[in-house]
Symmetry: C2
Subunit: 177 residues, 2 copies
Amino acid sequence: MQATLALARETGYAKLSIEAVAARAGAGKHTIYRRWPSKGLLFLDSLLSLNEPVLDYPDTGDVLADLRRQIYAAVDLLANPPWGPLYQALVAEVQHDPAVAAGFNERFIRPQTDKTITRLKTAQDQGQVSPDFDLDLAMAILSGPLYFRLLITQEPMTHDYVDRVLQALFAGMSPRH
Amino acid sequence: MQATLALARETGYAKLSIEAVAARAGAGKHTIYRRWPSKGLLFLDSLLSLNEPVLDYPDTGDVLADLRRQIYAAVDLLANPPWGPLYQALVAEVQHDPAVAAGFNERFIRPQTDKTITRLKTAQDQGQVSPDFDLDLAMAILSGPLYFRLLITQEPMTHDYVDRVLQALFAGMSPRH
């Protein structure tokens, strides 16, 4: 998996191949195919092996500050070079390969969603998040605007953008009287 | 382009090829390559040729009802079969092909963004949307949670989901006092 990540960083996802990974790792390609039936699954496992504790939410008692810090860390890691383009390639693979989609959701999105809900539930109990806010939507609402920028407009993912999104989501679109 | 759409619906995006489109259209493949240098660009043009007026925003004076109606129409068209999987394939292509990414943004996302901002600006002037709401974020905030579901979790895009997202975005995450 280290060979996969090293090669992916050097050549990009499109040029990554199981053959090249086998050569770099000094292994037979059948050995690799036995464990990972597709390039997408090998790449998913390799990315997950980074296992960055940076993606955990802190709990300082200030939910907005904690979300900001966690999302800064996530976008610094996943939305900028070198991992940004590789993460985009992984999401592209998710559109074509149901096995990659299932693995990505079970092993990355679902645990992230659970952490997000847990942190927001605490904030809700402390009166920092509206008691009406639908926690099941938390991941879609908080990360949707980030994925929109990463995958659709492909504009740079700056801390300023994160700040503006959090401000808008907390304030809401309705006028406050 | 009709041949492209017909074939894409029959075979899916992965199996679509310029050769097959040429055969279906009774044209030479070089004729097609001269106009569309890649399958991604041909597919983008073909999808845009649908030119659904359904994607325009109504203005009945009730911004929440109008957004709901427009987003229902958009998800009915773009997030469900037959176009859902093809739209997912197009977004996957956007991750790999900068020419498709540029065309998709200039010719689809940018005009949709402008329409969204125009409708929300009217609502803001009428006091239905907070004067502090950052209109430049409107498209990311409104459509981000929909793209998250379409591209990441790939759960069904229901009207109920749209309703819950709009409710959460209008109310905001902060408690209202």
